[in-house]
Structures are given as structure tokens and as C-alpha cells.
């Protein structure tokens, strides 16, 4: 650790700040003095009036030079020895010294010397550079005149030459191709692209590549990906119960905007205020979802206004950070400590975002908080085509699966025939299958030998897959004392019926109509199953009617009674589901037993059944939902067994179809998956456009107030919308609303908008911003490494008509960009962060690109663009562990959605995708514009063991074995081209071919191990390949995917 500190000092001493360890020739207020004052003094002697001590402030020259209450003067220009500031910073007295020990701040000897000299030189002040509009910058002269390829290089080289450094050589062609492809598309170059570039000898070969990449939809995706962090995009609301939302149509809007190279001023304007544009289109309204992507609570019991204020504050924070590079939230509770932003100005800015007619979310109910727009995704046409193609594809899969089913079906039938039927979970007390199919006698299968004649005509009809007795109005069966039910005994009746008439039809009864209808019946009345339990009708009996069922269709009906004597104890299930009931009589107090026989098909004499009845069974217990489901399954299986008992030739076509359908839907997981996929795809195609939360403006606007200490319930003075005084005023004629604010931001004279945007892009490409604190251009922010370059780029950007793609081209065409990053250890020690740009950028890929890269290398990457978020592999249980009531369950996908680009992954804020979070993807709870780049053992575990990477290694192996040539060396070379866009070195080949040989040996002797490895992941294994060889190549593929080089842009 000590070593580390020493090295940093050493590095500074050696190079970067070399000129500054001693004192600079010319002291610059902004560069040298303001950072010291800001960091050490402003907290008590700065912009915040409330915490200001002794009336002294150092951010305003007049005050700093004025006489203090004590009569002393803090700063006397030209006379450091007469300046109280110098006395105090030099004091050894703990009560006198500044900054005071309690501040935990100290000044270095160098800081003190700088302050002294600055005062001696006249204590000049200048406004903070970032608040002054960029000036036109002439290209500085350079010695190495043939190096620059464009303006960027003049600025970079001038600085290098001033430091006595030379730029690195241009990167090798393959390195450059991979670098620019990763930068502009987030994906590696394909072997074909590598070959094309290496064969293109024309002078503008590189430029052609850049143009191709910029025009690719992959480029739009890559840019959209970088926009999601700062727009704090997610698929859930965040906070406590973290319900789901559908904001993805806005993500599609962003992709589409980049794909059409929408000018950046329009890009900003539509996202901030698209709804306020003249004749705003649904797409322009959709764009404003930017302002509603923030976290929203739906916790029961929250105070709405408290959170509404938080949402507005989030919009302020996001807008200020993303477009202005300012930490405006520091002024929410008090005047800003470091920057000239007052609390009143904060609420002036707040007021722009305070007028959304937003309603709170209801606990676990609302998918979106109003206002919303139901606008289709701008990619809707393509999405629909994709869905239609998907559906056609799944249908084809389904047909194929059905065709392939003959053999496994026959095998399964054999096992059915050779195993005895399972014991029923609940045994009936009486059971009449009514499936004899011929003759005029029916039997109780629970009591062998018990049978009864059919009265009337015994005709047998089809019952789904079997037979059933037909009832024509004359048909019925009498069964004597087969069952005995009474009103204080629990029981259930289960039956399959096919009613054909709306007339009251009796399914079964044991009733004495002559004795006040004493007894019970199960009937169908007006198409509704109903049951009577009667001691004496109507004064002592109960009647319950269930929901209606469809006539001329088979239904499974269960009446379950708990023996309570109350109607509430009688439950109906139709086709396995409990259904609502209507109680029309509920006063049963006496017994319902009778001497009448049990009948099927009529009461004592009346209400005959019309239709078919089968599988009537009586139970001595009530059945619950699970029991009913089980019962239905058992009866279905019993039907299946009946068909299976007959040779195929003797079955009807319908029976054969039924049997196949049963097997496929119940027992073939692949078929089940296909059916599910089909259902989902069809539902998606039929779904209306999602409701996206967007901005709207209240009329009249909601009055904003200065909130004391930032508290929602502490309003102070009323505040009108206005922008901070340190920045330019709203353009003439601009309305004082979000649209006016957007116009103000994109005004060419605005000092921040273009610089902040250019700087962020620079960070994306080079790893650090020209202003390293990309999120803070204020006085606590870093001093630009190349201030003139930043201004020149900002100027180019604005004068190009905010051409974002043009700006990127300018950067990647520069000689600065094209330098080699292989500069040696000494260069890294000299300038660890590469701030001077004496070499090319080399840093680990962003989280999403680490994964996308592996998918692309393996050939797994799905190329669909846009649409709803997807659910790739994730370890089981992560959502349940943290969700309210364990209610949230991750919905694992199958098929292509497992391999979509990572920024389409469903983003749950309280539990972000672990494989991405491990590589520094943020939680998206707040706007973030600079990710950390850590290097941890958990990242190694992901690369080694996450099924994503193991499967990618196997697919890479398959790719290499089928397309990589005929020798191990050629194949290895191909693998390196895929993963690193370079040929394998001799040392690579030597190392990995040894591993390959050893692994092949190992897997040959342990085929089960090979199979285990090959079956990680959902994709099919190429059966034409030797498993041991494929497994060994998978091992090699994994090593290649895990290389530092593979996950690094260099």
C-alpha cells in the first residue's frame, strides 16, 4: 500500500505533473488557485451564505480583498506578507491555522507557496472556465508536422511535445480494426471483416471501415447502450416492492434516434420536451420518457408529496448531470458550497420539472404511473415482422415435433401397458364409469359384480377419448342403496357431463319427490350445475347454483360438501377451477336420507337428463382444488389407458390424435416449451402498444417553492422557473418551461452542453474524459487535460449541426486514436491513466460488451434489434430472496432471447443481473455517467463458470471444429482470429495445443465428464462431432474467452 502511494507520487514527479511539482512559471487562477480555495476554503468562505464565516468569501474577489470585521485584510494583492490569508495558513497555532483541524483539510507546502505567489503576482481572478463559452481555437503548431491527421492531433501532439514526449506508433492493422469495431459497435470484427480489411490496400481502407461501422444498426445499439446508465433506465420501479414497468419502447426510441443520426440538439429537445413541441407526435411524446425513468415507490403508507418531490429532484439531478455536468443537487438544501448556484436557483430549475400531472403508484397494482402514452415502438414494424417470423418458425418446430413423436409415443404406450394403473389418491365409495360402450348394463367399478340395467334405450356415444352413456329423455339407471349421503356428513360428487339442453336435467339424484323432495340431486338448470340438499322443500333445504357451462361440450363437474349443513360448505369446481356460486336457499336443519334408490339421469320421476354422462363417482370427503386437479388427471389417464389398450389399427383417427396430443402436451418437455413459446409470441403479436410513462405539462403549472432544508413539507418563498445566473439567460422569446429550457441548452453559445457531450464521448473512447470528472464541470471538478482541444471539439460539434456520428468519425480518424497501446511498462508507470495520450487506449470492455463479445465470438449472438427486455441465464432464486413475499420470480427464457445483446437484459433495480453487475454495471437507481472499472476475483468466477461463458466456449469449439480448418494449429489460429482478431502466436499455439492434447486424453477416458461439460447451456450440441474432442476444444475455448486480451479493448 505504501508502495502504491509512493508510486503515484513517483509517477507524478516523473512525468505528468512534472512541471508542476516545482511552481509553474505562470500561475493561473483557474488551474492552480481556485482548486485549492474550493477544496480547502469554500465550505466556510464560499458561495453558501448560510455557512459563511466572518463574512469572508474567497469566490468573489471584491469580498476577498475587502477589510474584515477585525480590520485585517485576507488578500492584499501584491503583498502576501500583509495578507491575513497567508498568516493563517502558515500559523502553527491550532486555534489560528486555516483550514482548521476540524475540517479534516490540510494544505500542502506547494499549495501554500502557490497562494503566496499568486497574491504577490496580483491575486488575479478569472471566472471558472466551464461557465465561459468556448472560444474559437486555432490549431497549435507542432514539430512533428506530418503526424497529425486532423485537428485533434495538433492539440494532443502540442501537449506531448511540451512534455518532451513523442506519440506511439500507429497500431497494427488488426488491432485497429478490432478497436474501432468494438468502440463503434460494441462487437468484435468477424473473420470476413478482418479478411476484407487486410486485403483492402486502398488509401482510405480504414475510413471505409469506419463509415461501414457508423452506418450499422449495431452502432445505434452501442450508442443506446451508453445512454441507459445516464437515463437511469430500468424495467422495474425500484424501491421496496419494485414492481415491473414497460419503458422499453423509449429504449427503442433511443436506438432509432442513433440509427437515424438524429442531431444532438434535437435528441436533447425531444427527450426533455418532445410533448411541448408544436403538434407533438406520439414518438416525440415517447421520447420524454427520459424524464420518467426515475425510481417510483408504491410502498403502502408512503406520503405522496414527499415522493413526488423526490421525483422532481431526480429530474433536476439527472438533467443537470447529463447535460450540464453540474452537481446541482448540492443546492437543494442550501446554497452550493463550491459553485455559484444558490438554493433559490435550484428551485428555479426544479420548477421546470414540477408540472407533471403525475399520480402515485398503487401498491402492487399499477404497472405504470400516469401520465403515459400508448405509442408503438419506432421499431414496431420490424418487431412485428420478427414476431410473425418467430411464430412461423415455432409452428414449424411444433409440426416437426409432432411428426417425430411416433416412435417415442409407441415406446411410452408400451410402458403404459406394462405398468399397472396407479392407485387413485382418493378412493371413491362408488364409481360408475358408464364407459361400457355396448350392452344395456352398467357397473360400479368399486364393487365388482354390482350392476344395474339401463332403463330406456341404451345408446353409447363418444366421450372425449372414450365412450359414455347417452340420455335421450327416456334413459336412466336405478342403483338401489348404492350411496347414503346426509346433511351432516362431508361428501363429494365428481362427474363428466355433456349437456345438450337448457331444460332442467338431472345428472344424479336420490330423492323422494312425494315426501317434500327429501333427498339430494345434482342437476343442470339453465346451463348451470346446481345442487339441492333437502329435508323438506322449500322450508328446510339448501340450493346452490354454480356458474354456467357451455352446452354440447364435455365438462368435469365436482360438487364438494363439507358436512356443515350450510350452503357456504358447498363448493363447485368446473373443469378443475373453483367457480362462483349463487345460494338461493340456505335453511337446512333436518336429515336428507330417503329410501329412494340412487338414480342417474333423472329425479324420482322428472327432470330427465339430455346429453351424455360418464365417470360418475361419490366420495366420502370434501375435495379441495388440488384434489380436483388430481382427480381430473387420474380420470384422463384412465381414458388414455383405455385407448392404449387397443392396437393402433383399431383406434379411431380422433382417438389416435388424442393419444398423441396427450403424450406431447403432458409428457414431452420440448413440446411444452414450444407450445409456451408459441403462446407467448402470439400474445406479443396481439398485444397493444405498451403504456410508457412520459412527461406532460399541467395547465396552469404547479407553483414551485423554495423548500427549506430540501424538505417537502417546509415550503418557503414561491419560485418561478429560471436558470442559474452564472449561465446565460433563457434565449429571447423562449417559454419558461421545459421546451424553453431545452432551447437554452442547445443554444450554440451555451458554455456547457457541447463540452459535456463531447467530453463524455471522449471518455467512452479513451477511457477518461478530457475533464476526468465527466459528471462535474464545477469548481471541484478536474482541470481539463487539454482545455483547448475540448473547446475545439465542442466548436466542431456545434458547427456541424450537432452531428453526433460526424463527431465520432472525427475522433476515430485521428492519429491520436490510432496509436498503439502496447507501450511498455515504463509508459504505464509514467502516465498510468494515459491522460497525455502518448499511446492508444487500453481498458477492459464495459460489462455488456464483455458478454456480447463472448456471444459474438461463439456465434451465439442473436441479431434482433429492440423490443421488450429479455431474461437470459441467471442463477435460481435471486429474485425471490429479496422480493416482497418472495413474489418475484425470474422468467427464464428459451431460444434466441438467451443470446440477445446484454443491454436488452431485463433490469430489476433491487436485484440487477449479477453477471453484468459484477463487471461494474450500475443498479440504475440514479443517473450515472462514469462507471468504475474494477478488476476482481468475482469477475474471474463469472468468466470461468457462468453458463453464458461455458456455453459460449462450447459453441466457439464447435465453430472452430467445423470451420477452422483441418489441423489443430489452423483451428487454434481461427479461434484467436475470432476472439482477438489476430493470428495465434507460436507461444499461444504451443501452450494451448498441449492443453488440448491433455484434455482430449482426459475426456476420452471420462466420457461422462465430456458429456457434462457439453450440456451446459440450452443450445443443442453438434452431434456430428466427437464428444471428447469437442469437450477438449471447449476447455481451450474457455481459456481463450477468459484471456485478458479478449475482454479488453487495446
Amino acid at each position: 500500500m505504501l508502495a502504491r502511494v509512493a508510486i503515484i507520487l513517483l509517477a507524478s514527479a516523473a512525468s505528468l505533473e512534472g512541471a508542476e511539482l516545482g511552481l509553474p512559471d505562470k500561475i493561473d487562477y483557474g488551474r492552480h488557485i481556485r482548486p485549492i480555495l474550493s477544496n480547502a476554503c469554500f465550505r466556510c468562505h464560499g458561495p453558501d451564505a448560510e455557512s459563511r464565516q466572518a463574512g469572508l468569501r474567497f469566490d468573489v474577489r471584491e469580498v476577498a480583498l475587502a477589510a474584515l470585521e477585525s480590520g485585517k485584510v485576507a488578500i492584499v494583492p501584491g503583498h502576501s506578507d500583509a495578507s491575513e490569508l497567508v498568516d493563517r495558513i502558515s500559523s502553527a497555532d491550532a486555534d489560528m491555522v486555516m483550514p482548521p483541524p476540524s475540517s479534516n483539510k490540510t494544505l500542502s507546502e506547494r499549495d501554500k507557496q502557490l497562494l503566496r505567489r499568486w497574491i504577490d503576482e496580483g491575486a488575479e481572478y478569472h471566472p471558472h472556465w466551464a461557465f465561459v463559452a468556448p472560444k474559437d481555437q486555432a490549431l497549435p503548431p507542432v514539430k512533428l508536422a506530418d503526424w497529425p491527421r486532423n485537428g485533434i492531433d495538433h492539440f494532443v501532439l502540442a501537449r506531448l511535445e511540451a512534455e518532451g514526449l513523442a506519440p506511439a506508433a500507429e497500431a497494427e492493422r488488426h488491432v485497429l480494426l478490432r478497436r474501432v469495431t468494438l468502440d463503434l459497435t460494441g462487437l468484435p470484427p468477424t473473420p470476413a471483416e478482418q479478411e476484407a480489411f487486410s486485403n483492402d490496400t486502398s488509401n482510405n481502407a480504414y475510413e471505409k471501415v469506419v463509415d461501414r461501422l457508423l452506418a450499422s444498426p449495431r452502432h445505434a445499439e452501442r450508442m443506446a447502450m451508453s445512454w441507459l446508465d445516464l437515463a437511469r433506465y430500468a424495467d422495474t420501479h425500484g424501491y421496496n416492492n419494485d414492481g415491473e414497468r414497460t419503458q422499453w419502447a423509449w429504449r427503442d426510441w433511443v436506438i432509432h434516434a442513433f440509427d437515424s443520426n438524429m442531431p444532438y440538439d434535437q435528441f436533447i429537445t425531444e427527450q426533455l420536451a418532445g410533448d411541448l413541441l408544436e403538434g407533438a407526435t406520439p414518438q416525440q411524446q415517447l421520447a420524454t420518457a427520459f424524464g420518467r425513468n426515475h425510481v417510483i415507490t408504491s410502498e403502502g403508507g408512503i406520503i405522496d408529496e414527499e415522493y413526488r418531490v423526490e421525483y422532481v429532484a431526480d429530474r433536476v439531478h439527472t438533467t443537470a448531470t447529463v447535460f450540464l455536468g453540474l452537481s446541482m443537487q448540492c443546492a437543494r438544501c442550501h446554497d452550493h458550497k463550491f459553485d455559484p448556484l444558490t438554493q433559490r436557483e435550484y428551485y428555479g430549475f426544479f420548477s421546470f420539472f414540477n408540472n407533471v400531472p403525475e399520480a402515485p403508484l398503487h401498491y402492487n397494482k399499477d404497472p405504470a404511473a400516469v401520465p403515459v402514452v400508448q405509442a408503438p415502438s419506432p421499431l414496431d414494424g420490424a418487431l412485428r415482422e420478427r414476431l410473425a417470423r418467430q411464430i412461423a418458425g415455432i409452428e414449424a418446430l411444433r409440426l416437426a415435433r409432432e411428426k417425430e413423436s411416433a416412435e417415442p409415443l409407441a415406446r411410452w404406450e408400451e410402458t403404459v401397458r406394462s405398468t399397472p394403473p396407479p392407485e387413485p389418491a382418493v378412493r371413491p365409495v362408488a364409481s360408475y364409469p358408464l364407459d361400457e360402450g355396448a350392452g344395456e348394463v352398467i357397473s360400479d367399478c368399486m364393487k365388482p359384480g354390482h350392476s344395474a340395467p339401463v332403463v330406456g334405450t341404451a345408446r353409447w356415444g363418444e366421450k372425449r377419448w372414450s365412450k359414455a352413456l347417452e340420455f335421450d329423455g327416456q334413459t336412466y339407471v336405478e342403483l338401489g342403496e348404492a350411496v347414503s349421503l346426509d346433511y351432516l356428513q362431508p361428501f363429494s360428487i365428481s362427474v363428466w357431463i355433456y349437456p345438450t339442453s337448457n331444460e332442467a336435467s338431472t345428472v344424479t339424484s336420490k330423492m323422494d319427490q312425494a315426501d317434500g323432495y327429501r333427498g339430494f340431486d345434482l342437476i343442470v338448470e339453465q346451463g348451470r350445475p346446481a345442487m339441492h340438499l333437502i329435508h323438506h322443500w322449500p322450508d328446510d333445504g339448501l340450493k346452490v347454483m354454480a356458474a354456467p357451462l357451455t352446452l354440447s361440450a364435455w365438462h368435469h363437474v365436482v360438487a364438494s360438501y363439507d358436512g356443515s349443513g350450510h350452503a357456504s360448505g358447498l363448493t363447485f369446481f368446473i373443469d378443475g377451477q373453483a367457480v362462483p356460486v349463487e345460494v338461493t336457499n340456505d335453511k337446512l336443519h333436518g336429515s336428507i336420507t330417503t329410501d329412494q334408490p340412487l338414480r342417474i339421469g333423472r329425479r324420482t320421476i322428472s327432470e330427465p337428463f339430455l346429453g351424455r354422462i360418464a365417470d360418475l363417482a361419490f366420495y366420502s370427503t370434501p375435495l379441495n382444488a388440488d384434489g380436483v386437479k388430481q382427480l381430473a388427471a387420474e380420470q384422463t389417464l384412465a381414458d388414455v389407458r383405455k385407448i392404449v389398450g387397443h392396437p393402433v389399427a383399431e383406434r379411431s383417427a380422433e382417438q389416435q390424435a388424442h393419444i398423441r396430443q396427450y403424450y406431447l402436451t403432458k409428457l414431452d418437455p420440448s413440446y411444452q416449451t414450444i407450445t409456451e413459446d408459441l403462446k407467448r409470441a402470439k400474445a406479443a403479436l396481439a398485444a397493444p402498444p405498451p403504456a410508457t410513462m412520459v412527461m406532460q405539462e399541467m395547465s396552469p403549472p404547479r407553483q414551485a417553492f423554495l423548500l427549506k432544508r430540501g424538505q417537502y413539507d417546509q415550503p418557503g418563498e414561491a419560485v418561478a422557473p429560471h436558470v442559474p445566473a452564472v449561465l446565460p439567460p433563457l434565449p429571447a422569446g423562449a417559454p419558461a418551461n421545459r421546451l424553453g429550457l431545452a432551447r437554452w441548452l442547445v443554444d450554440p453559445g451555451h458554455p456547457l452542453t457541447a463540452r459535456v457531450a463531447v467530453n463524455r464521448l471522449w471518455q467512452m473512447v479513451f477511457g477518461n474524459g478530457i475533464v476526468e470528472t465527466v459528471e462535474d464541470f464545477g469548481s471541484q471538478g478536474s482541470w481539463p487535460t487539454h482545455p483547448e482541444l475540448l473547446d475545439w471539439l465542442a466548436g466542431q460539434f456545434v458547427s456541424s449541426g450537432w452531428d453526433f456520428r460526424g463527431l465520432q468519425k472525427l475522433i476515430v480518424m485521428s492519429a491520436t486514436y490510432r496509436q498503439s497501446s502496447s507501450a511498455g511498462a515504463a509508459a504505464h508507470e509514467r502516465d498510468p491513466k494515459n491522460l497525455l495520450l502518448a499511446r492508444g487506449a487500453r481498458f477492459r470492455l464495459p460489462a455488456e460488451t464483455v458478454r456480447d463479445n463472448a456471444l459474438a465470438i461463439s456465434g451465439l449472438l442473436a441479431d434482433e434489434i429492440g423490443g421488450p427486455s429479455v431474461f437470459p441465464y441467471q442463477p435460481d432464486g435471486l429474485w425471490q430472496e429479496v422480493s416482497v413475499e418472495h413474489g418475484a420470480v425470474y422468467r427464464k427464457e428459451t431460444g434466441a432471447n438467451l443470446y440477445r445483446r446484454s443491454f436488452y437484459t431485463f433490469w430489476k433495480r433491487t436485484c440487477p443481473p449479477p453477471g453484468l453487475a459484477t463487471f461494474d454495471a450500475p443498479d440504475r437507481e440514479t443517473c450515472l455517467i462514469r462507471r468504475a472499472r474494477t478488476n476482481t476475483p468475482l469477475q474471474s468466477l463469472v468468466l470461468m463458470n457462468d453458463p453464458t461463458y461455458v456455453e459460449a466456449a462450447r459453441k466457439l469449439a464447435e465453430r472452430v471444429l467445423t470451420a477452422g480448418g483441418d489441423s489443430p494449429a489452423k483451428r487454434l489460429d481461427y479461434a484467436f482470429r475470432l476472439a482477438t482478431a489476430r493470428p495465434a502466436r507460436a507461444s499461444d499455439t504451443e501452450a494451448l495445443l498441449t492443453l488440448l492434447a491433455e484434455s482430449t486424453e482426459r475426456f476420452r477416458s471420462a466420457p461422462a465428464q465430456a458429456q457434462g461439460l457439453l450440456h451446459v447451456g440450452a443450445s443443442a450440441v453438434d452431434a456430428s462431432l466427437d464428444p471428447a474432442e469437442l469437450a477438449a476444444w471447449t476447455v481451450v475455448g474457455s481459456v481463450i474467452l477468459n484471456l485478458d486480451e479478449t475482454i479488453t479493448k487495446q
Binding site: M1, N104, Y239, E772, S883, L941, E998, V1039, Q1050
Partner: protein
């Protein structure tokens, strides 16, 4: 473990390292030794990568009393009235309206703010004095009652938040709104790791037996906020891989993994030779750490070496992975291995209704294991430098939610609640703070969330005003601009 010694071991063990050890370069070494030190220099505030989180050079600020923390967090808001803060007067006045002089019109959650009547509910559970210190504890905690002489009970905790999300985010990160680092992340950042083979900050979650609603947990509670993401808590899970992606895939055994890593290191080393980028050396070391973690974590979670006496001590639940009891035993094993911050979450304390039927189940989950943890640590001489913290995000109201009922419920209450601390740096056998006769307001020695966090940091040798991180121009700290150390409870 000293990372430099560790690095030396790494460098000498493999032949291909031997070749380049001398050429490794100082910058590479620095990258490997951990960069958080670099964050102290303003030039490197984003936190460059590092192999073993080494902590800040300036820490500890003074000699620590505790080297590590076990935080037994009870998510949902346990009722102080049934467990730690006996109110005989409330039993006497059971069913009568909460006096307006006590309530003083303070804000209520949206769940009870519409109630017309606020009858006070006397606890159904009896309290008795225990131990030499005579601490009053409820009959729901018979095992805890036996270790009261080791506890410091704070009856005067308070928070501003009255809903779960802001309250739990507040107590764990020092801010009601998302975006700040959690306590454990601050400690990881400040103190670094004492065991290279295990994460510095470990999180374990258990499910309560009470049937009341289970509030959600949020990754931000153990997140790193604006600190580098390497400081976020690592979940130790009871199902699947104990640490995500820990297990080698099917078909790859330890021997093959070793071979793969050797080849990987060889190729990475070659790339370092060419580019000179010290990140590559760090990357090599991280794969080695991952490899060792693959062995050290299963060894950690394998309880077979524990004696029957230990199992008896923690109670029958300890044999079921994922229970609070099992997590307590794992916490002790983590402590023995030098893990800095161990955060347990036990869910299910949100007793809005049916408190008398569900709270006893929750108490049974935690009572024996937490007492066992104290006894176990004490027997091993670890309690003196391990700080244990117990509590939830707030307490519960003296009045009944939904009025007067037999199986009553209580709403959230942030104005006073009870927590206890034990071990390193904390005075044992004392009660701190007093609430009024209704356990509604604090009458003496209030302890705010920021005060608690300042005190926890103090026990670890950290001045809470000096553990800062600059983000967007501001030096942030766990206790924001507040926090007073609770001196009376310190040894």
C-alpha cells in the same frame, strides 16, 4: 494476510512467473497491491482496480477496539414493546386512547393515518429481570435473557423514516434515498480485507417463520453506491452456489481447472510482456484468488468439523442451511477467517396484524442462535474484538393497527425503538436511553441512526468525519453531516 507476501507466493509458485518476476514493474505491483490507497489522492478518486482490497493508508485513525462486525439485521421492524421495552402502564391502560399529550400530532404512515381511534395495546408477553445487570427482557427471548450481561441494550434509537424502503435504506446507507454506499462497503473501502481468499463483506439472508408480510430487501442495502463496485457485499447463499458462479462447470475438475488457469496465466503474462499494462498482472492474480476462493468457500460452509456441542448450542435449526441459526454459525466461522463485515438479514418482523401469533415464531428463530453466537465467540476469545449489532429499521406503535383486537397488530414507529450491541468496544450489561410510559417518545439519551453508525465506526478505529469519498465534487461520508459518538456505551 499481507498481500505482498501473498504476491511473492504467487510469483514463485509457478515457473512462468519466475521468469518475469523481476520484470513485473513497480506499477504492476502497485496495481496488484490494491489501489484504494490511490483514492486518497484526488487524482484517482474513481478507484483504480486492485487485487486484494488493501484499505486506506490513513486507517485506522486510532487503535480499534473491534476488528470486525456481525450485524444481525431484523428486517421489517421488530416490536420493542414485546421484546425489550416493557411498559406496565400500557398493560394497565390497555384499550384506552393514546393520550394526545403523547402523540402530539406526529406524522403517521398512510396505513394508520386514517384511523379514528388509537387504543394502546398492552403486550401479551411477560417481562422479567435477568442477569447480574437485571436487564428486563421478554419471555419471548429465554436464551437471550441468559446473556444479557454481555449486551448493551439501547432503548432510545430513533429515525425519521416511517416506511420500510426509506428506513432500511437510511440505517444501512445513512440516506433515505438510493445512491449511497452501505456501511459494509464503507468498511471494505476503508479497512480493506484481512483474508484474501474470502470476500471482505459478506451478506446472508434468512426467512422468518412468522407469517406476516415479508418486506423486500434491496441490493442497495449492501451496495457500493458511488464507491467502486468491488466494495459491494457478496451474498453467501444457502442454495445453489454459495457464492455466485463459484462451482466449476460439469466436466471440469480441480486438476483441469488448475491446468486451464496455468495456461491462461501464461498467455496473459505474454500479453503483459508486450503491452506493459499492469492491469494484466492484476487480472492474473484475480484468477488465482478466484481459484482459491473456490476452495475456501466450500471449506467455510462445510460444518462437518463442528462439534456436537456447537450444534446443541445453536439449536436444531442450525442443521438447516439458510436459517438464521445456520447463518449465525457461518458468521462465527467467517469471523474466525478474518472477514471484516458480516451482515445477516432476518426477514418477517413487519407485524401489522396477528402479532401475538407470529412474533413468537420470529423470536424463536433468532433467540437461541444469537445467544449462542455470543457464547460461542466469547468461549473462543473472539467477542472482545468482534462487534455485534442487533436491530431493525424502526420499532412499532404502542397503539393497535386497526384498533383494539385480540390478535393485534402494530404500525411502524420510528420515534423510538430498541437495538442491542455486544462485544468489541461496547460496555456489557448496560441499558442506554429511556422512553416514555408508552414507548412512544424518548425521554433520555436519544440515539439517532447517524449516532449509531458513528459509534460503530468508532469501535473500528475510524473517525466517522474523516472516512470520506469525493463524488461529484463533494466529500461524502456515511454519517452525512451528522453523527455523535454514543460515549456512555463505550468501554
Amino acid at each position: 494476510m499481507d498481500p505482498r507476501i501473498e504476491l511473492g507466493r504467487l510469483l514463485t509458485r509457478r515457473h512462468f512467473f519466475g521468469r518475469t518476476a523481476s520484470g513485473l514493474g513497480a506499477a504492476a505491483l502497485a496495481s496488484l497491491l490494491g489501489s484504494d490507497a490511490a483514492a486518497e489522492s484526488p487524482a484517482a478518486e474513481s478507484g483504480a482496480p486492485g487485487a486484494v482490497p488493501a484499505g486506506l493508508a490513513s486507517l485506522p485513525h486510532f487503535a480499534p477496539k473491534a476488528k470486525r462486525v456481525i450485524y444481525l439485521f431484523q428486517s421489517g421492524g421488530p416490536s420493542q414493546l414485546e421484546m425489550f421495552d416493557d411498559k406496565p402502564l400500557v398493560r394497565e391502560k390497555h384499550g384506552s386512547e393514546l393520550p394526545e399529550s403523547i402523540r402530539m400530532g406526529q406524522r403517521l404512515t398512510g396505513m394508520t393515518s386514517g384511523q379514528k381511534s388509537f387504543p394502546v395495546i398492552g403486550s401479551k408477553f411477560k417481562f422479567a429481570q435477568h442477569g447480574q445487570c437485571g436487564m428486563s427482557v421478554s419471555e419471548l427471548l429465554p436464551y437471550t435473557a441468559k446473556v444479557v450481561d454481555d449486551l448493551c441494550l439501547v432503548r432510545s434509537m430513533h429515525t425519521e423514516a416511517i416506511n420500510h424502503d426509506p428506513a432500511i435504506t437510511f440505517i444501512q446507507t445513512g440516506s433515505q434515498q438510493p445512491g449511497r454506499p452501505s456501511l459494509g462497503a464503507w468498511l471494505s473501502y476503508g479497512l480493506g480485507s484481512a483474508n484474501a481468499d474470502l470476500p471482505t463483506f459478506v451478506v446472508m439472508i434468512s426467512q422468518g417463520s412468522g407469517k406476516d408480510s415479508n418486506q423486500g430487501l434491496l441490493e442497495r442495502l449492501w451496495g457500493s453506491g458511488f464507491l467502486p463496485s468491488s466494495h459491494q457485499g457478496v451474498k453467501l447463499r444457502s442454495s445453489g452456489d454459495a457464492v455466485l458462479y463459484l462451482s466449476d462447470p460439469a466436466g471440469i475438475d480441480r486438476g483441469l481447472r488448475r491446468q486451464m488457469l496455468d495456461r491462461l496465466a501464461q498467455l496473459n503474462q505474454r500479453q503483459f510482456d508486450e503491452t506493459g499494462d499492469p492491469e494484466i498482472v492484476t487480472r492474473i492474480a484475480q484468477f488465482e484468488l478466484a481459484y482459491r476462493m473456490q476452495m475456501s468457500v466450500p471449506e467455510l460452509t462445510d460444518l462437518s468439523s463442528e462439534s456436537p456441542a456447537v450444534f446443541d448450542l445453536y439449536g436444531p435449526d442450525v442443521r438447516r442451511p439458510g436459517t438464521f441459526a445456520a447463518n449465525c454459525l457461518l458468521a462465527r466461522r467467517l469471523v474466525e477467517r478474518g472477514v471484516r463485515f458480516i451482515q445477516l438479514y432476518h426477514r418477517g418482523w413487519d407485524n401489522h396484524g396477528t402479532l401475538p401469533s407470529n412474533l413468537p415464531l420470529q423470536c424463536r428463530d433468532v433467540d437461541q442462535p444469537q445467544a449462542a453466537l455470543i457464547t460461542d465467540l466469547k468461549q473462543r476469545g473472539l467477542l472482545e474484538d468482534t462487534l455485534i449489532v442487533w436491530g431493525g429499521e424502526f420499532g412499532r406503535t404502542v397503539y393497535g393497527q386497526g384498533g383494539l383486537q385480540d390478535d393485534y397488530g402494530r404500525d411502524h414507529h420510528g420515534r423510538c425503538f430498541s437495538m442491542w450491541l455486544a462485544g468489541g468496544g461496547i460496555k456489557p450489561g448496560v441499558v442506554h436511553g429511556t422512553t416514555d410510559d408508552f414507548s412512544y417518545n424518548i425521554v433520555d439519551q436519544p440515539v439517532h441512526i447517524h449516532d449509531l453508525n458513528a459509534t460503530i465506526l468508532h469501535c473500528l478505529g475510524i473517525d466517522h468525519t474523516r472516512l470520506t469519498f469525493r463524488f461529484q465534487g463533494r466529500d461524502f461520508r456515511l454519517t452525512d453531516v451528522e453523527g455523535k459518538i454514543v460515549r456512555p456505551i463505550l468501554v
